[in-house]
């Protein structure tokens, strides 16, 4: 395996690598949001009546809501009426194989280094590639379906498995949940659906690549993963986006459901365009991610490495309903230039003997602002609940900021809750020590930061861990010195 320092050398000289635009005709609805737009989206997708009604209910609710301003992030008002809510690469029919995929699209995947062929042949990873808003190719589906695993685009799931979708859609994040989740519920375009049947252990990591491509198109993904009793799945989400001058809104919703003794491991590497060094452009990433440990002895782990986006607003959470269920949150968030991140988690303990672990590593450089915001809530009936939280912040330079907002609510006296927090400046002494041994400043910084994040990286699947280290190294280029 290549060391992170090698990656740094290789990548230090590059600009944001994934900043290119593919010229593909888009089938878009006109800008703005109203009932007609929602009806049109639903019609394009040939959705059943109940789903359209659900969207419209959400829209109606959304009209009464106001944008939250409590996160410690600062950005101009978003004009929701100037956005385009649906765009899809023009496809003539359902695609059966890669041969049928638009060659431009395939080239884009090549540029991203995620050639589906290669992926199929080499990595054993099934990829549901989301290009803008429509899934264009899904691989390994046959192999997975032998085991009864359903892994497909959300639209396909609505058509092929309406009962499952109807049963679980909105069951973790209801359409009325919050401003952005409600907006998503009204206009979501596509996403991924995954169902692991009873007693099945997914033999491979399931992976989706997201990419925002059409100018001015907000992307509203919807992901739903259901792990039935005694099942296991590891899901990877990796993101890149092309360079844009306008800010782009991304308001995704991810819902996870783990039944008795089921386990879901959800890993994210997020590298959307963060804006330039003056804070111009970049993605607004307002995401609602929540998992319900509905069954006893179930487990949900969130691992995220967040290096991109101009603004990140994201709290992957666990609702620990089942007795003895376990929730985990491992996070690395890096902000530089003018990036802002307000991220953390919520662990809600409802069942008995529920346990949760939170490890958060925030790195701020340049004028970056990094906030950890986390809630640990122990409900009255959560006898014997335990939580351990550790929030470490690292500062590089003297113009950045790190903030920690831990909220703890305990309604049961048997609970054990521990919280540790630290803030440190990257040590000049550490850098000098490494340089004295012959290591360059940039490699030294990369090494120190990767060491700082190690507890999180070791939770990532191997190939993702490498990518995460790469991302950190690129992102840190020129941050100190």
């Amino acid at each position: 395996m290549q060391s992170p320092t090698d990656h740094l050398n290789e990548l230090a000289s590059q600009d944001y690598k994934y900043g290119f635009v593919t010229d593909i005709e888009s089938d878009s609805v006109p800008p703005g949001l109203n009932e007609d737009v929602i009806k049109k989206i639903s019609a394009i997708k040939e959705e059943p009546e109940w789903l359209l009604e659900w969207r419209l209910k959400a829209y109606e609710h959304w009209l009464k809501m106001t944008e939250p301003r409590w996160p410690k992030v600062d950005y101009p008002e978003v004009d929701f009426q100037s956005m385009v809510y649906y765009s899809s690469p023009k496809a003539k029919k359902e695609l059966q194989s890669l041969d049928e995929v638009d060659p431009d699209l395939l080239e884009t995947f090549d540029k991203l280094g995620i050639s589906l062929d290669e992926q199929k042949r080499l990595s054993g990873v099934a990829v549901d590639a989301v290009f803008d808003s429509v899934s264009v190719a899904t691989t390994f589906k046959d192999k997975l379906s032998e085991l009864g695993i359903i892994f497909c685009s959300f639209s396909e799931a609505v058509r092929e498995h309406p009962d499952l979708v109807k049963k679980y859609l909105g069951s973790v994040v209801p359409y009325s949940d919050n401003f952005y989740a409600t907006l998503n519920s009204a206009v979501f375009s596509d996403g991924s659906f995954c169902y692991i049947p009873k007693g099945v252990r997914s033999p491979m990591e399931l992976s989706t690549y997201f990419r925002i491509n059409a100018a001015n198109t907000g992307q509203f993904e919807r992901t739903l993963i259901v792990a039935d009793e005694d099942s296991y799945v590891s899901y990877l989400e990796g993101c890149t986006a092309p360079m844009r001058d306008e800010n782009q809104l991304h308001a995704a919703v991810v819902e996870l459901v783990a039944l008795d003794n089921a386990q879901i491991k959800y890993s994210t590497v997020q590298n959307w365009y963060p804006g330039d060094e003056n804070g111009k452009g970049g993605i607004y990433n307002f995401v609602t991610k929540r998992g319900a440990c509905r069954g006893s002895d179930s487990k949900i782990s969130w691992t995220q490495v967040e290096t991109g986006s101009a603004i990140t607003w994201k709290y992957p959470s666990c609702i620990l309903q089942g007795d003895n269920s376990v929730g985990e949150f491992y996070s690395v968030a890096l902000t530089k230039n003018y990036q802002q991140a307000d991220t953390g988690t919520k662990m809600v303990h409802i069942g008995k003997n529920t346990r949760s672990t939170i490890i958060s590593k925030g790195i701020s450089a340049g004028r970056g602002q990094n906030s950890y915001r986390g809630l640990v809530k122990i409900n009255k009936g959560a006898e014997g609940a335990r939580n351990f939280s550790q929030c470490d912040s690292m500062l590089m330079g003297d113009r950045c900021g790190a903030h920690t907002f831990p909220y703890i609510e305990i309604n049961n006296p048997t609970a054990q809750v521990e919280h540790e927090a630290s803030t440190s400046k990257i040590g000049e002494d550490q850098i000098f020590y490494l340089r004295q041994r012959g290591i360059s400043t940039e490699d030294a910084i990369s090494m120190i930061v990767n060491g700082f994040c190690k507890e999180v990286f070791r939770e990532l699947p191997m190939e993702f861990a490498v990518e995460a280290q790469k991302l950190l190294s690129i992102s840190l280029e020129g941050s100190v010195g």
Partner: protein, 253 residues
């Protein structure tokens, strides 16, 4: 190999080195002794290129090059090694991984082939045994949770792996018990040779019983006030630093 001429340096607004001249040839071991605050450690930091220390006068030539003009990492690649008085901890970074990266950047600088993980491990184990460093420390994060003695041994271990041309040992003996001291000294002695020079900075004569120097220099108030052979260290041990400071203050008496 190393030629220091009238070197002056300050930290913030305090002048620490006030004109030091010292020549180290290959194969020689120079001991630099002196009371606290005399500038011993500063000398080591300046040679290594620490940015907090501003050189205000004089020159340092190393293998014919201007050492002061080089970045710290380039000095290291050219064979300058500093064993730190207070080695820092680097959480989450494995000792092995760190040292392999260091060794390979030095080898790359010299146009040598990089060592793979297996070859490196073999080398690291051999050197760890040499300085009696517990092998289990190789897998642990750099210096994290190490005892004082383990940190110092780890410095000498790194020196043994990197094989510098000029090694500066900054109070490597402080905080060591007698067994650790012997182990460290054995490690250093095994590396003595015709191509390598040492500057051993120490407060006490004790270390010099084990690492016998060719020359001893006494530093006081930023200047070398007396130089001699190994017997000078014994004299200092007997009479203390005051004797020599008084002598320096009243050269006529």
């Amino acid at each position: 190999m190393l030629e220091i001429k009238e070197l002056q340096a300050k930290v913030e607004d305090t002048q620490i080195l006030k004109g030091i001249s010292l020549q180290v040839n290959p194969g020689e071991v120079h001991a630099v002794m002196g009371p606290n605050g005399s500038g011993k450690s500063t000398l080591g930091k300046v040679i290594a290129g620490h940015e907090d220390y501003l050189v205000t006068g004089g020159s340092v030539a190393y293998k014919g090059k201007d050492l002061l003009d080089m970045e710290p990492e380039d000095r290291a690649c050219e064979g300058v090694f500093l064993a730190f008085q207070y080695p820092v901890e680097i959480p989450g970074v494995g000792n092995n991984y760190f040292l392999r990266t260091a060794l390979n950047s030095i080898r790359k600088y010299r146009g040598e082939e990089e060592l793979d993980a297996f070859d490196f491990l073999e080398l690291a184990r051999e050197k760890a045994d040499l300085v009696e460093l517990d092998r289990s420390l190789l897998d642990r994060p750099v210096n994290e949770g190490f005892s004082g003695g383990e940190k110092k041994r780890n410095e000498v271990f790194q020196m043994a792996v990197l094989e510098p041309t000029l090694a500066v040992l900054d109070e490597t003996d402080s905080g060591l018990d007698i067994d650790a001291l012997k182990a460290v000294a054995d490690g250093v002695n095994s590396m003595r040779g015709p191509d390598r020079g040492f500057i051993v900075i120490t407060h006490y004569q004790r270390l010099l019983e084990y690492i016998v120097p060719d020359y001893v220099h006494v530093l006081h108030d930023g200047r070398i006030i007396k130089s001699g052979g190994k017997e000078l260290a014994l004299e200092l041990e007997e009479k203390g630093y005051t004797w020599i400071e008084e002598e320096a203050a009243n050269p006529a008496s």
